[in-house]
Symmetry: D2
Subunit: 362 residues, 4 copies
């Protein structure tokens, strides 16, 4: 590999669960070079001390997230930070010519008022919001390609808002049916199960092993912040407002997210129609596997990978209900690998570069 041609990367928030997964993917990536990784609390410490799994892979010490230092070190920054932290940092990075792949929620919602309502904080970067592209390549690839062109032609840095984990899997499960015109009702019920990495690295009563282990529970019912993000995406797809009822659950596993989505179909829709619509939609997608009729995905098959798997069934016994299920790794396609997929897209690399490895199968 000609290191001089690699893109230099900074991972901001590198010790969070999504952040360290970006770090891992960058270390494994042939075209990206981990030039910098930041963490406010652990600055000065080798990241391999925080995560012994990285011993032997990198000696990099964590830094403070100073915009000038980032701009000196990196061409592109992945922001794996809580919401509002990106609002503070992104403008400084963009101003210094650093492209940003933002894994936070700050640039996902097109309408700043909706952001302010759900996140209960002002949106302080409305100008940049207009330039941000929502980084779900399977749905918004042309927009990402526009960014690639912009970047390649020297028209400055670009900003991608990498989607949330639940919005990603819900969108992948629901889009083919909506797009194919199979749906009769604008109500989408998304019932999701996430592994505990989704709850973040900060220790708490909920993330204590003995609380999470051997238990499942719903949380954030009727008020989870991913709701408007799902509605935004599905409404764009549907070309009309879609109403989302969304219930996330926590289950005792590290990685994995399963969305089971319920859509009321037009009465004459058949199981074959549905299967065909999904197969068509995902036919050329390199990182999404559409399972054969009768098969539903399990999260264990995508854990550690950059992939999604989708299965669908039709319950036509009484109501005609489409039940679609999408499995992703919440840290992979739900966060870090999707961010790298977006980076590949805007940097002009093949989208699967560094992502087409086979993850442990169990």
């Amino acid at each position: 590999m000609d290191a001089s041609k690699q893109t230099r990367v900074c991972v901001v928030g590198a010790t969070g669960f999504a952040g360290v997964e970006v770090v891992r993917l960058v270390l494994n990536h042939p075209q990206l070079r981990l030039a910098m990784a930041t963490d406010r609390k652990a600055a000065g410490t080798p990241i391999s001390q925080v995560y012994p799994a990285l011993a032997g892979a990198t000696d990099l010490k964590l830094s403070l997230p100073e915009p000038d230092a980032i701009a000196a070190a990196a061409d592109i920054a992945f922001l794996a930070v809580p919401h509002t932290a990106s609002l503070s940092l992104t403008p400084d990075l963009i101003a210094r010519g650093v492209s940003v792949i933002d894994l936070s929620a700050d640039y996902r919602l097109r309408d700043p008022k909706i952001y302010e309502k759900w996140y209960e904080t002002p949106h302080t970067s409305v100008d940049l919001l207009k330039d941000a592209v929502y980084g779900l390549p399977e749905l918004f690839r042309p927009q990402l390609q526009d960014l690639a062109q912009k970047l390649a032609s020297g028209q400055g840095p670009v900003l991608v808002a990498a989607p949330g984990c639940y919005p990603t899997s819900t969108a992948l499960a629901a889009t083919p049916a909506i797009k194919a015109g199979l749906v009769a009702d604008t109500l989408v019920i998304s019932d999701c199960i996430s592994g505990v990495t989704g709850a973040g690295r900060t220790p708490s009563a909920r993330t204590h092993f003995c609380h999470s282990n051997e238990s499942v529970e719903a949380y954030g019912v009727a008020k989870h912040r991913h709701t408007p993000e799902i509605e935004q995406t599905l409404s764009i797809i549907a070309g009309q407002p879609v109403d989302v009822v969304f219930t996330p659950h926590l289950a005792p596993l590290n990685r994995g997210l399963l969305s089971t989505v319920y859509l009321q179909a037009k009465p004459d829709v058949t199981a074959q129609d549905v299967q065909a619509a999904y197969e068509d939609f995902f036919a050329d997608e390199p990182l999404v596997t559409m399972l054969p009729a009768g098969q539903m995905p399990q999260t264990g098959s995508v854990a550690g990978s950059a992939r999604a798997q989708v299965g669908v069934a039709l319950d036509a016994r009484r109501r005609t209900t489409i039940v679609a299920s999408c499995a992703i790794d919440n840290l992979g396609k739900g966060a870090a690998s999707q961010a790298v997929q977006c980076a590949n897209a805007v940097l002009g690399y093949p989208e699967t570069t560094g992502l087409d490895f086979v993850a442990p199968v169990l």
Copy 2:
């Protein structure tokens, strides 16, 4: 305890997961005495050899499930057997004067044609079907009390069909809203997550630790056999046909079942209406805890216990959707403890006898 007044119990299928939980509850029960436990394959072996956890608690050897032997040993039999096995044995036991608490599906569905359609086998005991009571005490207590009277007055043995695990939790989650007239649509979506004991004790690729661990998946989508059972119960409650879409999931825990149920409410229903309806419905139930507004149940809080916990929310942002969640132990309230609760009811003991212990809290 005056052992001469205890009721003598036989557990048929005592080494299955539900069966051994009945054994455990009977051993802990002040009024029931474990007189016999059967298993075709392990007959002759002490049950504590199959389950070392029972060492020190019982020396009982497993027997063959011979009707005459059961009738000689026991007043009441718990049948923790696969469907059709109960169809074979129950008539023989009833004919010999032994009351039966059947944990299988054989006497749950009122209409033998629906049974035959879903279970793909003839129903060979239609006569007894008419006398069977569906053993969900919180919904059908009067019918169980009729059996108690029948038994007490010497009018012969009684037959209780103990409900399935998913039908129990779905019914507890959905009934209060339906009964209070809050619901606008007869569609009930029940999205459930079960621990692996629900998949039974027979080793298989699916129940292999390394398959189940660190993975969640939907199974039996649009065709699980508990669907008509749920429909039957909710239609009785609603007084009209209810359409059920039911998706079970498997998650990596031993015990626990969470049902999250979606009901479209009448437009003017408020969160307070919903919470009040649920609190009213469960006000006097000794084994169901209705959680305060804003709190949802976790299965870890009921694992090992005989209890259910229920929480409810209203998503009135766009549609008016009731999201109700019920947590049970699939082997407890979803199988064995519910069977014992029914036995208590028909034997004239207080319903919670032997069931009001506090299970491990983690």
Copy 3:
């Protein structure tokens, strides 16, 4: 039950993992009545709010651990507190006539200098130390019976130092061999595996689900504070100083502790000798099951119970090494149920009162 004859209990530190297990066992106990439960931070809150599993079982609100209030409410106090906290509280309780079952380390080590060395804090209650009995009934039953007599004859409150979890299982695994004179060397290697409840309820990086899950590790190697406690017990048993090398491991389960202990035996010792020695030693113990030759214990068989299971093998191929394995629930026989067992002993109840229930077998 005649409530007027029940013993009134206060559980100090009732929201810790060991504390809430004492609470549970007291709630299930026919002769003990939970009169008070304390927690400094959550005083005023119902304990069922902290642990929803207790909903329906108790309405008790948590209190502050004030000595006068405890003395007014309770005859006996279980102290489920960190070390040094018991040194502060126990003298005040004893002075007020309240008997104490102390689950902390403060009164376990006979020699205050050893305490001060390992716990790096002065022992401020040396007088009481002399009266404390080390509460491992299988080894020190006569001493507990002396306390019972003292209490029954009105000679004031008593103090029991309930053993640590690793010392309990190591002592049960090693004692029969030592006592039977089978051992040739005073070196005892104890290699132990504990569930995560053993690490306590305070959230930390180590107890985060995603750290503990899918990983095992040794910790506290060559310096764990249970080492001198194990040495003290085994030296008493052996009648000479015993040298202990002790390695605890953490494994991803909630409850359970397995000690595998290695002892060099005299060269002519046979497997039959060893098995016989263990069977003899535990022959009349109601809460310890000695497994048949060839069988080793699994922690799953004792989780949630008050029992221990022990198995032993002899590796006589080259060296003559006894490999003995003891399984307990670290919160049960390793903490709370052992404390209740001691309370039973000193209060004059049969030792197994409230402890002879059958726990979930899986």
Copy 4:
């Protein structure tokens, strides 16, 4: 990559847990090409149907393990088969010019009598046994290099006996101390904890999720077949017979193996001596990380990787005992990645080719 220069690989027993991990590593390997994968029962089925995680990565159909077909398709075969199956197949492959990396036990023990005693079956391939090299590169690299030379110079196919999982981790934990002359006694106690993949893919009562979950247990005490293999390796290292007492445990995780090894050191050995000996020994090893003093390895840090991590402590308080701990992935360094590491060595590729990826850190 020039595919014409890749080495063609056949994986025999490709659906077992070790087999599919070899498949995964070959798919990710730049110099190896998966030409064939066999499974007697599933021949004709795409392997991605057996393991949906492979969907999108390979369309290969499983074949029968016919020697002629393997010889036509592949340059090298990985045999991930039970013992005796390799005795049948290896001679046929070697005769056809196919090099073999054997993951079974059949060619590990130098002395066929020891094999016959422990495996209770005749060794039918004693001739080949003499040519087999025990594939633990960190200990026997020169021997592997001899094979590389033999292969490169056209002197025919080679045979590597890849070590067992417990022997690998025990050897890595014990060797530096023995080699540095720190040890005073030839007794080595190895206490190990393995994830459940170590028990194989065949469903059984023991590998049922509900048995393995929430439980730990010792198994095969004093009779596990890895014992003579450990003794063979450590005796070679020590230059004299070493006596091994070995206890494996099963813990509820998929992947991971931790060996904690106890060695009696010479009395004047210091902790610094020990740490230095280990650091020296592993200084240039690319796939073993020696942790700093005071740190012990956790299996979660190596799961999914090709690496080992080692930590060591000295308990010099009474006896002078070295406590060394080695963490590997039982399917990685304990099986498949070690086999690939050996293949790299004999094929003349850098030893870490295809193995220096960073695995998921949690």
